[in-house]
Symmetry: C2
Subunit: 436 residues, 2 copies
């Protein structure tokens, strides 16, 4: 039986999972590929720690070049993460004619174009199913069987840490800080959770999904990104009263020649399937012009599910090798010369429904003042809740608006927040009512 040799950069959690999967299911994989896939070299700075798996003697090296220059290795798996040296290694692998499989969303969100161009020049594949939503095979589906569709929307719950925290805040009525601390103790959140809780990780993944679905380059830095750290249990309670749950949502929308791409806490109807995505699970919902709405759900992270996606990509490439071809499909699923440069719609121009919570002094005329300003900016109120009266004290006033222009809402809040009856910065959460 033919042998296809692969090299692995990075023996962390995911890398260990990939090595384990290639060994555990070796015969299954051979039955599907018609070749034996062999892990020939693994490069990691730490080659002494026991990862709980048995590796062939001499397979480990601290020198990445050993596998980047090995002519027997056809596929390089990059699981180092971060920008450097991952980028340098990936480009060198491509330069040496090797196919690349990576889970590195940060790298692709920022340097994707350069890497895709290099791969096109060399006629090799760059696959990255594991970069978005762990094991869920959503990228393959967009590039593959759903490829005939013009997509109009993407809604994703893409960060397990955030979704775990929000689920517990919702179920327990607990506050953000307390849940985060406990999540860190339980290993569900990193010691430095900034990338997760501030939405950066979600924005990286959204950048990839937007590129794939809309066939466009995305300037990652232009994606509007808000995290969940400013959410309060009060907002989650009000959301429930209005029939919503709050999720950190990655939102992509096609609007003519422009694209919306934004990450922020979002209220979604409790009866939408995305509202039932709890804990560390991920889900992505798309709408295509022919397929209609479609949703994928599964484990969005972790050693085993992510390894499933990485090895799925290796199988894809191995089938090409067995068929005697190099590159079969460009990384984004579009011919390289067909990828567009659609402009990102500025945040001020998006339209949405809004939940706004004002912290006001309970005094006659407050509501008239607030609604007067909203009205002057063409923001119409769908419903309003003013909690129990406590004359002279701070009370929350919650307003749900009809569709309004973000810039108008911002201007109105800036104006209202200067009033002396307003005790603190108002809370604004966008609402997605139909998710189509």
């Amino acid at each position: 039986m033919k042998e296809i040799k692969v090299g692995l950069l990075g023996l962390g959690t995911i890398g260990t999972g990939v090595a384990k999967l290639l060994m555990t299911n070796a015969s299954l994989i051979s039955a599907k590929v018609g070749a034996r896939i062999t892990l020939k070299k693994i490069a990691d700075l730490d080659i002494t720690t026991d990862r709980g798996i048995t590796l062939t003697d001499g397979i480990l090296t601290t020198n990445a070049d050993e596998l980047l220059t090995d002519p027997e290795i056809s596929v390089v798996i990059e699981l180092i993460g971060g920008y450097e040296p991952a980028k340098r290694f990936v480009l060198k692998a491509i330069e040496n004619g090797k196919h690349v499989v990576t889970a590195n969303k940060a790298l692709l969100a920022l340097h994707g174009e350069e890497i895709y161009k290099a791969a096109a020049n060399k006629g090799v594949e760059v696959l990255f199913e594991a970069a978005v939503a762990g094991g869920i095979p959503v990228i393959s589906a967009i590039r593959g069987n759903m490829a005939a569709n013009n997509f109009s929307t993407i809604f994703g719950i893409l960060n397990g840490t955030c979704n775990y925290i929000l689920t517990r805040m919702t179920d327990e009525g607990a506050d953000f800080a307390a849940v985060l601390k406990n999540a860190q103790e339980l290993g569900y959140a990193e010691a430095d959770p900034t990338f997760d809780i501030e939405g950066v990780d979600t924005a990286h993944k959204l950048a990839l999904l937007v590129s794939l679905c809309f066939g466009t380059r995305v300037t990652f830095g232009d994606i509007h990104t808000e995290g969940i750290s400013s959410l309060s249990s009060v907002d989650i309670k009000f959301a429930r009263d209005f029939g919503y749950k709050i999720k950190l949502l990655a939102i992509g929308k096609r609007d003519g020649d422009r694209v919306e791409a934004r990450v922020h806490p979002t209220m979604i109807p409790v009866n939408n399937p995305l509202a039932d995505v709890n804990g560390a699970f991920n889900a992505i919902r798309f709408t295509g012009d022919f397929i209609g709405p479609v949703m994928f759900y599964g484990r969005g992270a972790g050693m085993d599910p992510t390894a499933s996606a990485v090895v799925g990509d290796i199988i894809e490439i191995s089938r090409n090798i067995m068929a005697g071809i190099g590159r079969r499909c460009a990384p984004l699923g579009y011919r390289d010369d067909a990828v567009a440069n659609l402009a990102l719609k500025p945040m001020g121009e998006i339209e949405s429904k809004y939940y706004i919570r004002f912290s006001a002094v309970d005094r006659p005329g407050v509501l008239a003042k607030i609604s007067g300003v909203l009205g002057s900016y063409n923001i119409s109120i769908e419903s309003m809740v003013q909690s129990a009266r406590m004359a002279g004290e701070e009370v929350p006033i919650v307003i749900m608006t009809h569709e309004a222009l973000e810039s108008d809402v911002r201007k109105a809040l800036d104006e209202i927040d200067t009033f002396d009856i307003i005790m603190r910065k108002s809370q604004l959460i966008r609402i997605e009512d139909n998710l189509e």
Copy 2:
């Protein structure tokens, strides 16, 4: 730009959708394939009815041979349905070296092996994403990115007509016959709904999923199949009281060297995502050894979603053609010589939890008699509900069992149903508690 010519057999609803999609999104598809995909011939017995789309003059023919023998046509799309002449046409297309795309689950469930073998001999692809769950790209995912997994379970809601009827029975408390009649008036059910409501369509689809997930041949006739026509609104109400919804579920399980494959109404917990799959939507949940649980959700039928799947397959084949290769992957994702013949587990040997509704005369000692028989067959009771007492009249007694062996349950019911205190055949519905 290179041109890839395809021929379409059958211009019914799906065929019309495929023609429409190929025309509407022609430039998008070219951008993804690098070739123009042209519909060169369409064969249908009826070439006069207006389908609401504009076709090139002379493209329509009543003679399938015109396209089966056309050397310019690389891909034949079979959307006739049924066994003959679909089978003859598919085999002839393969014999003539053409790739085949089909949505014909009945054909593949019964004659798949013969067709796959012919395709292997000729080195052509046979793709059938549209045969299961309409637009949802679940077959591509099993063959493709999820291929590294050993799957343990499949749970599918695969028939839109049944799910529509069950959703309305659940929401409205209505009876089966009334909802079916109304569904027929609204076009959600066929004039002869037997294939749908008796579970045959679901079993065809399950046969394909079991083959793909477990890499085995399945004898379609051996799949245990029960439909929804014997369900009563009483059962749906009791299910809700116990925290369940009733769905027509396709169930596939791997158990060592054997496979369970069965279709029947099933109680699933209300908080499982599958319980929220309503109306004409479909969903499939798998568990793989590395990916864990994963679920796909979307429109399971209809002109446009099904066309999305068919054209997705055409794109897949076209990318191969552009890469200069014929066949890249066998129909089931396994090398043809690696497909196994796993035995189907006889229904009597499955283990499940059961809901049993006895229609008994309300008389002292009835419960003792029933539970005595259950106990004698090692069936242990988890809970029991006996409705309001009406001495001497027929009352429902509902028993939820712990895990028990199907053959024991059958024997116990056969025995109990002969008692003169039992007024009619007892109702039995299987329960799936964890869906993993």
